[in-house]
C-alpha cells in the first residue's frame, strides 16, 4: 500500500490549522522538527507503519 502517510499529514494539518495558512506553516514546521517532513511524502510513498503510528498518536493527542 502507498499514500496513507500523505493523506494523514494533510488531515493532521487540516485538523490543527482549520484553514489558517499561518498555522498550516507552523504545524508543518513542527512535523519537520519531529522528523516527518511533509514534502518528502507523496501519494506514491510507501506506508511506513512507524510513521503512521506516530501521526495517529499526534491526531489523538490534539483534541
Amino acid at each position: 500500500m502507498a499514500g496513507k502517510i500523505k493523506q494523514m499529514i494533510d488531515a493532521f494539518v487540516n485538523q490543527r490549522a482549520q484553514g489558517n495558512t499561518v498555522l498550516e506553516g507552523v504545524v508543518k514546521i513542527k512535523l519537520i522538527l519531529k522528523g516527518i517532513d511533509p514534502k518528502m511524502f507523496t501519494p506514491e510513498s510507501a506506508d511506513d507503519p512507524a510513521i503512521i503510528a506516530k501521526l495517529e498518536e499526534l491526531m489523538r493527542e490534539f483534541k
Binding site: L23, I29, K30, I32, L33, G35, I36, D37, E61, F62
Partner: protein, 366 residues
C-alpha cells in the same frame, strides 16, 4: 504606558531590587518578568523579587548577559512590569522535573483559562518558556507543548555567564534547576513575534542519515561521516571545519526561513550540536549575514505590521552576543531597542515553534 522596564547593576541584591522598585515607582504591576546575571544568588533574587512585588506574579531566569531598553548589560538585573491594562490574564506554572513527563502544568492552564489547550486561540494568548539551559531537554519540552496547543510558546534557555555550571529559572519566589517556567499570557493588545537569525541559506543540503538524538549528535550526513560531509559541503578539510561552525551552521529551512542548528564540536567523525536533530531531516548549510542590519530590518517590519510597539522581550543567543562583543557592536545592538521598553537576555538556546540556536526570538506587544 502599560509596560515599563527597570534595571539595576548594584551588586547587593536588596539594593538592586529596591532600585528596580524605585524605577517602577507607583506603577501598578500585575506581572513582572525579570532576568538576572548568574552573579546574583538564585534563591535570594527569586524570593526578593516576589517580596518586592507582592501583588504581582513574578518569574524569570539566570542569564549570560542582559538587555534593557537601549543597552546590552552584564552583571545586572533587568525587569519588565505589566499592569492590568497590558495583560488581561496570566498563569505561571513550573515543570519541576524535566526528566519526567507531566501534564500538571497543562491541566492547570486548562482549569485557569477554562478551555482545553487545543482550543486556545493563538491570536489571543501567548506562551513564554524559560528553561534550564543546561538540561538538554529543550527540544523535547517544546515538542510536547506543540503537541497539545496552537498557542505559540517563545522563550529562552537560562544562562550562567558561560560558566556552564548551573542555570536557574524563577517563579513566584522560588528558584529551580532542571525545570522550566511556562507562562500563558492574555495580552490586552495585539502582539507578534520576531525570529531573526542573521543567516541566509546556501545551496548545499545535508540529509541526516544517522543520528544519536538524545546526545544531540549527528553521526552521518548523506550516508557519510558527518564531519566529512559537512567539510565537503564547505569545500574545506575536517580539521578546518570547526573554524566555520560560528558562521556556517546548518538549518531546517521552511519556505526560505531557517531554523538554525549550531554545531558545537567534532567528536571522532560525528558532530555534536547545540540542539537535537532527527534522522530523516534535510538540513541546509547557512552563511552568516549582518546581525545589526537583519535585526533592524526585522524590527522595522514588526513596527510597520503593528503600527507601534509598547514592549519587546528579546531572547538573544549567547553566540550572537559573543559575535557582537567580538566586533564591538553591543552598543549598536542595544541602540536598536532604544525607543521601545525592552528587556532580554543572552540565552543558551532559543525557543519558538521548536528549540533553535544562534537566533533572537522576540515577543513584541503593540
Amino acid at each position: 504606558m502599560n509596560i515599563k522596564t527597570a534595571f539595576s547593576d548594584k551588586t547587593d541584591i536588596q539594593e538592586a531590587v529596591e532600585e528596580i522598585q524605585t524605577q517602577l515607582g507607583d506603577f501598578e504591576t500585575k506581572l513582572l518578568i525579570f532576568f538576572a546575571s548568574s552573579s546574583v544568588t538564585p534563591d535570594k533574587i527569586a524570593d526578593r523579587m516576589e517580596a518586592a512585588f507582592p501583588s504581582a506574579e513574578t518569574f524569570g531566569c539566570s542569564t549570560s548577559g542582559e538587555i534593557v531598553t537601549g543597552r546590552m548589560l552584564t552583571n545586572s538585573i533587568v525587569a519588565m512590569a505589566f499592569n492590568r491594562q497590558a495583560i488581561k490574564d496570566s498563569k505561571v506554572e513550573v515543570l519541576e522535573d524535566l526528566n519526567r513527563e507531566s501534564h500538571r502544568a497543562f491541566n492547570a492552564f486548562e482549569r485557569h483559562f477554562d478551555k482545553p489547550m487545543s482550543k486556545m486561540d493563538p491570536k489571543q494568548y501567548v506562551g513564554i518558556i524559560l528553561i534550564d539551559g543546561l538540561s538538554g531537554k529543550e527540544e523535547q519540552i517544546m515538542d510536547r507543548i506543540g503537541d497539545f496547543t496552537n498557542v505559540n510558546f517563545i522563550g529562552g534557555s537560562a544562562g550562567d555567564d558561560l560558566k556552564f555550571n548551573s542555570t536557574h529559572v524563577y517563579a513566584n519566589g522560588k528558584s529551580y534547576t532542571n525545570a522550566a517556567v511556562l507562562a500563558i499570557l492574555e495580552p490586552s493588545t495585539a502582539f507578534t513575534f520576531v525570529k531573526t537569525q542573521s543567516f541566509c541559506p546556501l545551496q548545499q543540503k545535508l540529509l541526516v542519515t544517522k543520528a544519536n538524538e538524545s546526545n544531540r549528535e549527528i553521526l552521518e550526513f548523506n550516508n557519510k561521516p558527518a564531519a566529512q560531509a559537512y567539510a565537503e559541503a564547505l569545500g574545506t578539510s575536517v580539521a578546518d571545519a570547526p573554524n566555520h561552525f560560528m558562521h556556517n551552521p546548518v538549518g531546517v529551512v521552511y519556505e526560505g526561513e531557517p531554523f538554525v542548528r549550531s554545531p558545537q564540536q567534532i567528536k571522532d567523525n560525528s558532530i555534536i550540536f547545540y540542539c537535537g536533530v532527527k534522522e530523516g531531516i534535510e538540513l541546509t548549510l547557512l552563511e552568516s549575514t549582518d546581525i545589526i542590519a537583519s535585526t533592524k530590518e526585522a524590527l522595522d517590519s514588526v513596527k510597520s505590521e503593528l503600527g507601534g510597539i509598547s514592549g519587546i522581550i528579546n531572547f538573544n543567543c549567547i553566540l550572537r552576543t559573543l559575535e557582537l562583543r567580538e566586533k564591538g557592536l553591543t552598543d549598536s545592538y542595544g541602540a536598536l531597542f532604544s525607543d521601545v521598553p525592552t528587556i532580554g537576555f543572552s540565552t543558551y538556546g532559543e525557543q519558538f515553534i521548536g528549540h533553535i540556536n544562534q537566533t533572537a526570538t522576540m515577543i513584541v506587544f503593540r
